[in-house]
Amino acid sequence: MGPLYKFGFFGHFSSLMVALVLGFWFGFLLERAGLGNPKKLTNMFYFKDFTVLKVMFTTIVVAMLGLLYFSLFGWIDFSKVYILPTFIWPHIVGGLLLGIGFIMGGYCPTTSIVATVSGKLDGLVFIFGMMFGVFAFAETFTSITGFYNSGAMGVVRLPQILHLPSGVIAFLVCLIAIGAFWAGEKAEKKFQDFEPEGAPTKRFKVTGAIILVILGLVLMIANPDKAMTKDQEKVAPVEKVVIEAPKTTETPAAVEKVPEVIIGDDEGC
């Protein structure tokens, strides 16, 4: 049962080899889609080429469906998959700034790496820019720590906020994705002034949409939340021990340690 690493199937060194292999395909696929080309990336913001939207949204939908089906089948313990906690204000401001950086610089962090290895000098300069951005952030960190930790909501998922089962949300995400693809293609037809490469046939698109709707519908009925809460119940007794332990002896130290683990940035981006 997954996640394999967290159940001790392999150690740190092997995990680095896994990272190399996953990273290889990550970079390979981004390059194959043309996402190492800043003109292709930024064309989305001029309604000419929605490759970014198509790749990103398909990735999200496939990984989301996979995670929920894997939980449903008991192949993965969802409670052991790391989810970044929500810090609402830094997420909003960080998102807006990253968007500005995207259109100004032509890349996002991963795509700039792919661009650099294919020989793009501006990709390399973008990476140097990012390093400067990290430096600026680190130097100003003490004065923005308050903002950095503002709007802390802990680990929150859409099902909790919208009070809907994961299966229903997944189905809605599938429908939104299909709608977004349709709208993107419509805009491309109007604004695109070049012959797109790798455009799929109509049959491919219709078949894909039907598969997404069916997979979403099945999830909605099967409700993977039942399998997920079963996992959490199994974990629950362990958590209780952690909470009760500080009561007996050293309360302040133990309480301080808990948030440090969560915000540790160890597993996030």
């Binding site: 970079g27 496939v62 996979g66 970044l84 610089g105 951005g133």
Partner: protein, 170 residues
């Protein structure tokens, strides 16, 4: 499929989804690319001003007594991504020394904007605790609230300012 041309974006997206799922299944975590840049920055600064860097309120988290700064899962992921990107570009004859830009901008302004955009991104990714991969792709597929808000804000920020950068790309 012609190997010299870009591939079907939906097919690529689906395969990337499988890679992300494989990351969840094997490691219990998603993909990411911005913290390796922060680690490389920390290592570079460490060579020039070690005490200042190791004492920095933010960067000190990367210096652990038991492990080198670059001995990290995401650093290896990015290393793999660089190799994979190189392999793909090589196979498709796309390796070419050039500056990616629109027809109406010259090289130097474009490079300055690339640096500026990178600086924005580097700062923003630290502030938001992730970038387009670690936050948006990974978090969104886990249905995390913050990731969806973050992703919508990326697109909002880019669409809202695209007009001002049109000479760079169009």
């Amino acid at each position: 499929m012609n190997k010299d041309r870009y591939s079907n974006p939906y097919l690529i997206g689906a395969l990337l989804g499988v890679v992300l799922l494989a990351s969840f299944y094997t490691m219990g975590r998603g993909l990411g690319a911005s913290s390796p840049i922060a680690r490389i920055t920390a290592v570079s600064l460490d060579t020039v001003a070690s005490d200042h860097t190791r004492g920095n309120a933010y960067l000190k988290r990367y210096f652990r007594p038991d492990r080198a700064v670059l001995n990290d899962w995401l650093v290896f992921l990015v290393l793999g991504a660089a190799l994979g990107g190189l392999f793909s570009a090589f196979m498709a004859n796309r390796i070419k020394g050039e500056i990616g830009r629109g027809p109406s901008i010259t090289a130097v302004p474009r490079l300055l904007l690339a640096f500026g955009g990178g600086a924005f991104s580097g700062f923003a990714a630290r502030l938001a605790r992730g970038c387009t991969s670690g936050q948006a792709l990974t978090g969104a597929s886990e249905l995390a609230l913050g990731a969806w808000i973050f992703m919508l804000c990326i697109f909002a920020g880019a669409y809202a300012t695209a007009y001002f950068f049109r000479k760079e790309w169009l």
